[in-house]
Symmetry: C2
Subunit: 625 residues, 2 copies
Amino acid sequence: WGERQRVNGTATLSHIAGWLEREGWIANFDLAASGALPEGRRGREFSDSEVYKYLEAVAWEIGRLSAADDAADAGAIAELEAQFRSVVDRVAAAQETDGYLNTRFGRPGQEPRWKNLEWGHELYCLGHLFQAAVARVRTRPDADDGLIDIARRAADLVCEVFGDDGIQSMCGHAEIELGLVELSRVTGDERYLRQAQLFVERHGTGVLPDIEFGRSYYQDDLPVREADVLRGHAVRANYLAAGAVDLAVETGDTELLGALERQWTNTVARRTYVTGGQGSHHQDEAFGDDFELPSDRAYSETCAGVASIMFSWRMLLAEGESRYADLIERTLFNVVATSPSAEGTSFYYANTLHQRRPAEHASADEVSPRASSSLRAPWFEVSCCPPNVARTFASLAAYVATADAGGVQLHQYAPASIRTTLDGGTEIALEVETAYPAEGSVGVQVLTDAAEPWTLSLRVPAWAAGASLVVRDAAGAEVPEASASLEPGYARVTRAFAAGERVELELPVAPRFTSPDPRIDAVRGCLVVERGPEVFALESVDLAEAGITATDVADILLDATVPPREADGHVLVAVRGRHPEIGPWPYGDEVDAAPAEASVHEVALVPYHEWAQRGPSTMRVWLPA
Amino acid sequence: WGERQRVNGTATLSHIAGWLEREGWIANFDLAASGALPEGRRGREFSDSEVYKYLEAVAWEIGRLSAADDAADAGAIAELEAQFRSVVDRVAAAQETDGYLNTRFGRPGQEPRWKNLEWGHELYCLGHLFQAAVARVRTRPDADDGLIDIARRAADLVCEVFGDDGIQSMCGHAEIELGLVELSRVTGDERYLRQAQLFVERHGTGVLPDIEFGRSYYQDDLPVREADVLRGHAVRANYLAAGAVDLAVETGDTELLGALERQWTNTVARRTYVTGGQGSHHQDEAFGDDFELPSDRAYSETCAGVASIMFSWRMLLAEGESRYADLIERTLFNVVATSPSAEGTSFYYANTLHQRRPAEHASADEVSPRASSSLRAPWFEVSCCPPNVARTFASLAAYVATADAGGVQLHQYAPASIRTTLDGGTEIALEVETAYPAEGSVGVQVLTDAAEPWTLSLRVPAWAAGASLVVRDAAGAEVPEASASLEPGYARVTRAFAAGERVELELPVAPRFTSPDPRIDAVRGCLVVERGPEVFALESVDLAEAGITATDVADILLDATVPPREADGHVLVAVRGRHPEIGPWPYGDEVDAAPAEASVHEVALVPYHEWAQRGPSTMRVWLPA
């Protein structure tokens, strides 16, 4: 993740800034300030939000570099800071005197304010503005750039216009709900919380029109506290759920929290891909029915992955159960990390689990009109994924660990320095040393002495049957009574830790076969290979290397009697090729099943997040056995 | 089919007329005539075409009733005739002096003519106008209603505007191509054929813009004569192919015909559902990749079925191979017949092969905003299927038989009276007697004496292994040398037939299991039951009757060791229920597969075209075994 963060902080952020300028999405604010709109405005109705997400990403990145406290970063920080302030200034200039801020609505010749709530994204854009402002306060509380004031003026206007006595409606794309709760947290202003509550509670009351996709598309079909499962547009659904968790936690609304826990549980059990991806429909970018999880038409939008992590993270904070961190890990590795190229300058918008045709060329210099490009593209007409990936990678450190009164909880494993002070005054400093997920060993070096016992909790993922834990004293000797073999959940070591002591977690990351629930029709009779938290895929580019004459992954049968194994850093499975004819009609009592060849070949799989880095290929995650 | 045609001619046509008036789509022509547009115009940009398709359906229905020559139909004919002329008059009044005819474009306050070719459907609408006019000429050549003149004036304008020296582009929705060829056939005007050729040849030259769905959406990605398979929007693709066959036949272009034969072959082998349905994507109503045929997300648009029949019919006329008639039959029974309710007043727009959730209620009195309603709906915002079904049913007789110099070919089996005169002067009258497909016996009674031998050809469907044929003389005695057991294709009996002789075809219509090509991932490990040309489905409403406690078809496993059987008019299969728990995560080495119960139950299947006639249900065509 460190390398990902480095690429993100350098290549990706400047890539995004370049495209935001090139496409005129930042310049829209300049046009607004100079009174030149609507002529010359470019981009879709929600393009302002990409600028705000970019700001949020930069704020996190400045915070990340500052926390690293490395003199070598000073130049980068100064540059990001200047860029951040420059964009904030341009946004500020476009804000109207009453606080309204949107380059697409409200001026002569534009649609009026707040009249197209179902598709206009006005409140959605503000939600991202609020998140950017909150990220800035969290990472640089003393900043005097004025972003938080911009956010407050806009939020004040929203409360006035949409309050108890205002317009009794909401945005067709949830997002402002969590933005408002977060803004109330950093400002202490209760009105924002109240407004978030109004927006959350208006969902499911039919305030928006019925549309082709149904009101479920924007979660206006059922009240949040009555729903059993996420449905409709997968980003909208997860943003709303995340905001509703924030609200439930702030208001102590256990009924609402229970409803969200139920929705999370059912969504994960029935409507989530093995990658953690969510969304089975291209048409409406939406969840399908239970167990409707086609590989070849998986939408698994990158932004839905980001949104799902936001929902799970809030559930984890609220309830402390490892399953939430498990899904975060799975989604980080197999959805969010799949989107950007290794260079960080092209992206998957949607993440198919089965590529039937080698990709068309995706130009590095052209906007893709297609969300479902078969190669990563540098930018999209709707380009929500690049800044969404960027803000997630820049803020990754926030997902690694938490602290409570009794100790520290490690949720994600990566090399990290962790420092906190418990309520009782115990200072804790830890160094996490690991090559995870390449290796399953996670060492936590304790750097501080504690007078009182405290608890170090380490997540044992659900897949990690056979995990074990060893505690060593400062001399390196095992402390037998503190060591244990572990069940999935949190392994807890409670101890008055001394500096030099070390906790060693061993997670079994050998590759394994995983089979699907039989109700998932799309992958009946198939297996997937996983290794630790990573899902693996077969790419056609690897077939020839293995001596297989078939050139398409469609013509490969897995030999499930041979367990997957690891050699020379590759995960290998045994397969057989076949060379079926295509008959006149693909149904009958004698359709050509073309028995597989007798010879078995070992072929290397790639981590799914690395697929399509070597040019066009066919690919499948689920392998027919 | 007789009952279907009766319902179509009575209930469906008046249903459509009522909705066309109610939604103002006919009134748009009145507004155009009175100069009141654009204010008050209702419906989408292509709503004019529904009026034309309705006119085509009425023309066919008048022809059908007239041919039946039953005095009892006189009142109905007169009523349809009056209705037809009334609508034609209203259309005529809206035509502009230069021949332009479209209620959506070209007036002050409307988009200009011919500027939005990719989405405007102006030429598409005219194609349907031409088809209506041609149907009228074919069924009532002496009609003085003026429709053919309206069509000619519009076609003349098109030739002028889009000719060799005109706008070098085409319509985003193919249809005018076949309309122009047909119009050239009935008028003898070669300019229309030339214009059709220009439009066909412009496909694949990139004259329309790239869009999110790609240029393949409107078949502007590859020249027609270079393509190997149908792709993009399934209705557009089939209409274009049908028009291109017409063109190839009229111009003797064997290269073009060969390309279309290749496309038909590959499309049927790789991109067609077992129902004959085409189109795997909801998003762009398009073909998917090869073998991408999900049951639960099958789009299988009703209109794509109609369009596929039009393509196959033209290939059948051009090449005379039974496989074309096979697909027509399959598509008629399992796509087109599936759309309308038994009452003929509600319709499926899309035809899923797997319903995972019991349907929501579909109001009999409201326009559905959704193409993919889970119950049949009376009308849609885009309501192309009702008039498309109506014109197909009204013209069904045209698909039953053909004649050539040497005899008569029977392609579809239904009770029918067939009369023709061969080139040599031999008069032929036949009576087809059959209860097909309920029963497999088809009797062809010869009513005329022939001095010369002629050939009666009877289609033996590809599924009908073991079919046999008996020829009987006027006394009912078998003529052994003329009888035969048959291979799929056309069984031919060449004979100087005498009145009173009879040909008896026996098709084996016992229910049978059919398995899928292993490359169709979506139905791996499943079987479907077919009986004759009909595909069968399991509906949850039948589970309780069979004593099965599971209430959802998801919880049923087929016992494939027990062949399907027929009893009391029902097709029965052996199944076992299971009651799986839903675990926290649907992937793993121990996901709950819930072994099926030991007890086997026989459950009745329904013909797929009859599903959802008994209220909301879950349903699946492919049964996991």
